[in-house]
Subunit: 377 residues, 2 copies
């Protein structure tokens, strides 16, 4: 399945909403990896132009990624509770916590997206938080797209295989950004509660990947904590058919992140990221900042995904205007330090490398790690 | 340093208090790995006879392991609060929650232990939760013992190297049993609080090992989630000098665990373990059972380590008398499923293999995994 994409390097660039678009995907593609376009926060116009650009690119393979959460109406009482918890932060910035903040747009995959994909089918359509309804999946597959989705547990992997996915992204707990979890780890039912205890169950990549490989017959893509050649080589040992890399690409010149975010990645360390729900309502890994320290990392006061982001909006805007990332999601996996070391090794700390170079460095270093260990064993 | 032990297989058997003693350590030694003796819950007599037995074994290398927590006096108010939280469980079992339960003995490394080690020095003395005071470390090293300790963060690894350890066990979040954490991940100070948010920061093995390898110059032993040849091969790619394996040995005939514990390991899965503080007061990974579901997995009501275990004692005894592990710590890493698969592959589900066989199977499968990937790359 993954072979059919004709990649010369089995690296999938992780789709990262807001952090990288066409330039990043094309740079990874140029190296021989698979570029991914995050579509969860695109307007309809931007989505259509993205698909047309991809199809114009001589049918080169790309991955188009969506969230599949159930959109929830704003819950005024929940919003009020969260804003009232945040009141001292609002006061400190001289902001009025009683004014409504605009809600945040994270669109789940829909009939509309499906129609556009039928017109301009990409090679891969991938999903986060499970899958859309079966009729939409069927239509996406009917026009020749591969369907991928993310599993954070063995049970989710089995569920995804049963629902027809062509490949599974095994997302270990090291990964930055949103956990793709959609089934309760204990009951196996759809995960709907906001039980903050869920983070005690998250499975590390080294443990998750081989257990998913053993449980399903579709190819498994390892994700979470892979940011250099050693991690890629390790994932191959675990039985992964490819690796998905996110955080390392945030060090590339094509990443569209703020200076504050870049700074946090460079100065962070493995243990200074945490799973937090304060930014969106769902657990996601971010470099630790003031809002996580003060109100989280996990909070029972946070409204459900994706509506939680609204209340932080004014605080984020005020902080960023003063060059502070104190209220911004600073998505980061636990291996940002490995990516930083890789960039330093190539002397490009002050001159961000292209994602094309990063892809090639990681693949070369993986080969070297495998050869070195094989020689001594 | 690890080479000087003369192991033919770079596998360290994890010391597991209560779950394996001399027979387990000797079986791993017989395979060419390093056997470990957990001493945190041994009486003085048992400790002395353990050391004498080891020294009698023609100076074969063994690892003797201790906890280094600061012993805390029982806090009557905290005990009362926890017992009152547990009252409905006591009532359901017809037990009186007002009767004092005996406190639980987990002895930190002491002057006494140091004296005994000076008389009968083992090859390696390893510690969990940091290190004992410098004067004791100095004496242990003076009689030729290697000193090892566990790091769960890069900062802890640097601290341990600065304090003179000969090797570092990098314990990823997948590991079963107690997290070795001793420094607050954010402040770098000694971790003294019982902030349950700490579990949001725990680092996966795939991410932790290479970052510690880059940060220190002593050998790094990878621990957490390694239960078969694939995990061992992956750890070697990450730069580990050896691996430490715990949960897989709980499937051996030498493991001294209850039938309930064995059952939980066989029927569990990666996502059905959690980090919990309900058993001891410190976060540790266990297969999920009733007490974790009802009162945890992390609870703010739990008294500090190691005094928390007392209140669960009567519940545990009553449940175990009915063949139930509902109130027992069922320590398990996230890769119990991989160990189960390994035992099944060798047709020994009903006839537990020796730890010697397990050690050899894992080492052979690691070689095979490395050779297979090297061939295709």
């Amino acid at each position: 399945v993954i072979d059919s994409l004709g990649l010369s390097i089995p690296i999938i660039q992780a789709p990262m909403a807001g952090a990288g678009g066409m330039a990043l995907a094309q740079a990874v593609h140029a190296a021989g990896g698979l570029g991914s376009l995050p579509c969860a926060i695109l307007s309809n116009d931007d989505f259509e132009s993205t698909l047309k650009t991809l199809n114009g690119a001589s049918n080169a393979p790309f991955n188009v990624n969506f969230f599949t959460h159930t959109a929830k109406p704003d819950d005024a009482a929940a919003q009020k509770r969260w804003r009232s918890a945040l009141r001292s932060a609002y006061d400190a910035k001289g902001l009025d916590s009683s004014i409504d903040a605009p809600s945040v747009n994270r669109t789940p995959f829909s009939e509309y997206h499906c129609e556009q994909i039928e017109k301009h089918p990409p090679a891969v359509v991938s999903f986060h938080f499970g899958l859309p309804e079966a009729s939409l999946i069927k239509r996406v597959k009917a026009v020749g797209c591969q369907v991928w989705s993310t599993a954070t547990t063995v049970a989710e992997a089995r569920w995804l295989e049963d629902h027809g996915v062509d490949a599974i992204i095994a997302q270990g707990s090291e990964a930055g950004g949103h956990r793709g979890l959609f089934l309760d780890p204990l009951t196996g039912d759809e995960q709907t509660s906001d039980d903050i205890g869920l983070i005690a169950y998250q499975v590390g990549t080294l443990s998750l990947v081989p257990q998913i490989v053993d449980a399903v017959s579709v190819p498994v893509i390892a994700a979470g904590g892979i940011a250099d050649g050693r991690g890629m080589a390790a994932a191959m040992m675990l039985g992964a058919s490819a690796v998905q890399i996110g955080t390392a690409y945030l060090f590339s010149k094509e990443a569209t992140i703020t200076a504050m975010h870049r700074q946090a990645l460079w100065t962070g360390s493995a243990e200074k990221t945490a799973l937090t729900n304060v930014f969106s309502g769902k657990p996601a890994r971010s470099a630790v900042n003031d809002v996580m320290r003060s109100y989280g990392p996990m909070s029972t006061e946070v409204p459900p995904f994706p509506t939680a982001a609204a209340a932080l909006g004014p605080l984020k805007a005020a902080a960023e205007a003063q060059s502070s990332g104190d209220y911004s999601s600073l998505w980061s996996g636990q291996s940002a330090g490995l990516a930083a070391a890789l960039v330093l090794k190539h002397g490009q700390a002050d001159n961000p490398p292209s994602a094309q170079d990063l892809t090639q460095w990681i693949a070369q270093d993986a080969q070297a790690a495998i050869a070195a260990v094989a020689k001594h064993s």
